[in-house]
């Protein structure tokens, strides 16, 4: 349980949000030209990092907007929150 600073609504309880998995996975530009390996990589393979991870979240029980988050998955500390389309603020 932790607090999330929604870039649109401010600080709310994590239970108001839905996690959307790893961020910055780019949808293939030419899906018809992808090999099976490339599809598997896009659809299923995840970094699943222990440490600093970039991920997507949705404020489902609030503004219902998607945004990005940088979080340390080893202790659930949130490092930064930024809007969709913005560059990650920390490395």
């Amino acid at each position: 349980m932790f607090l999330i600073n929604c870039p649109f609504c401010g600080e709310r309880e994590q239970s108001e949000f839905k996690a959307g998995g790893e961020a910055h996975i780019v949808r293939p530009k030419q899906p018809t030209e992808l090999s099976d390996d490339e599809w598997a990589e896009y659809l299923f393979m995840r970094k699943n990092i222990k440490g600093i991870q970039f991920e997507r979240w949705n404020h489902v029980h609030g503004c219902r907007k998607w945004f990005n988050m940088v979080r340390d998955t080893s202790n659930d500390q949130i490092k930064a929150v930024y809007k969709m389309g913005e560059k990650p603020p920390v490395k």
Binding site: M1, A19, L43, R46, K50, N75, D76
Partner: protein
């Protein structure tokens, strides 16, 4: 040869106030080289080592564990054992394990307290009823015992369930697998450790893997906190940390690691003599031999390695428990904890070779790995020893995420993942 545990050894040791029991396993320093190394000293890893030594005659092997054996998910799960899975591949895998459970205490000479008290899965809506009936038929075609119960039969089998049709999610029926049940989770790890140790397996605790050394497309050994250990075969059984180990070898796995919570109540007199699971409201409960209610909650939806979970997950589970069992309304909960489970997109495990020679993974068990411990160890040992999967785990290869031939148990198994 270790001393056999028996009523006579118990009496004999009573005379010396139980102070002279032989150590169940040694605490060796790692050798320079092994024929195979198992990474992860939980139930699955220790079982793998045990069957490698016993069935495949590989005695020069080691299990390395970063903490203490059985201290991870083996000691954190809710100990439920069943094999009533929908798909043929899963049914084969889990029933293989269940059959080994049935003789495990005798085989290991270690009481794993396997108790076939039955597992009942409840239906709360029409779709549940249809799904559970379908699964019952599928189970019986696969030779797995399963019966469908109507509401009255559910009430008769477990009288404390609230079967009033006026509650929010009324009980419309359920399935029962009588061969299913529970076992003592720690004992499984200890029993396999003792058995493996007796055959010469080195069980090395407090030894964390820091890197995997590769020579081209083959493995050469592991870097650990106790130094470099050479080996040609590495079997990784690291549960929630599988991706961490995979990253060391430059591999990516289709896994997400999430906290799964469980909790136990204060101990009370026997009140529930079976295991009841409910998929729709996500609550399951059984009673330990100590008298505690053992309650399984759900997973959080975000990746985390923190071994903590969100409070609202526990709250949701307890709401469901209270509606189904009003008798527990004044029970107090003693402990709550989380374990990190590695979940595959199809909620089925991976027991497989990889693209790197000599590197094998047994992972992705998600929320339900404990029940498979003996079968998982047996099949993973076969895969490592022969460099080929056994026919029972052939479907659980890592390549299924490329071919698309998934074992899609998501929601089709007896409980939500």
């Amino acid at each position: 040869m270790k001393n056999k545990y028996s009523i006579f050894s118990l009496i004999k040791n009573a005379f010396s106030y139980h102070e002279n029991w032989e150590k169940a396993w040694k605490d060796p320093e790692p050798k320079k080289e092994y024929d195979a190394i198992i990474v992860g000293g939980g139930g699955h890893g220790l079982a793998t080592a045990y069957y490698l030594a016993k069935k495949h005659n590989m005695k020069n092997i080691a299990v390395v564990e970063k903490g203490w054996i059985g201290g991870g998910n083996t000691g954190r799960n809710t100990t439920i054992i069943r094999s009533n899975y929908l798909w043929d591949a899963s049914a084969g895998l889990y029933d293989h394990a269940l059959k080994i459970w049935e003789g495990l205490s005798q085989e290991l000479n270690y009481n794993v307290m396997f108790s076939q008290r039955g597992v009942m899965n409840l239906a709360h809506n029409l779709q549940d009823v249809r799904d559970l009936k379908r699964r019952t038929h599928a189970n019986r075609l696969n030779g797995i015992d399963a019966v469908y119960l109507n509401t009255e039969e559910v009430k008769k089998f477990c009288p404390i369930i609230n079967t009033s049709q006026d509650i929010r999610y009324p009980v419309l029926g359920g399935t029962l697998q009588r061969r299913a049940g529970t076992a003592r989770h720690d004992a499984v790890a200890w029993g396999y450790a003792r058995g493996a140790d007796e055959m010469g397996v080195d069980i090395i605790q407090n030894c964390e893997v820091k890197g995997i050394k590769r020579n081209g497309d083959a493995v050469e050994g592991i870097e650990t906190t106790k130094g470099f250990i050479k080996t040609k075969k590495i079997g990784v059984v690291a549960a929630g940390h599988s991706s961490v180990i995979a990253n060391m070898a430059g591999l990516k796995l289709p896994l997400e690691s999430k906290p799964l919570q469980a909790l136990v109540s204060e101990p009370v007199k026997p009140i529930i003599d079976t295991v009841v699971m409910s998929n729709a409201v996500h609550a399951y409960v059984s009673q330990s031999d100590k008298g505690e209610l053992v309650i399984g909650a759900g997973t959080d939806d975000y990746v985390s390695y923190s071994q903590k979970g969100s409070h609202d997950i526990v709250e949701g589970t307890l709401n469901a428990i209270l509606e189904l069992y009003p008798i527990f309304s004044r029970m107090r909960m003693l402990r709550q904890w989380g374990g990190i489970v590695d979940i595959c997109p199809d909620a089925s495990p991976i027991i497989s070779k990889t693209s790197i020679k000599g590197l094998y993974f047994n992972c992705g068990w998600g929320t339900g790995g404990f029940k498979a411990t003996p079968g998982s160890g047996d099949l993973f040992a076969h895969t490592i020893a022969n460099d080929e999967p056994h026919k029972l785990n052939a479907a659980f290869n890592i390549n299924r995420f490329v071919s698309g031939d998934l074992v899609d148990e998501h929601g089709a198994a007896a409980v939500a993942h």
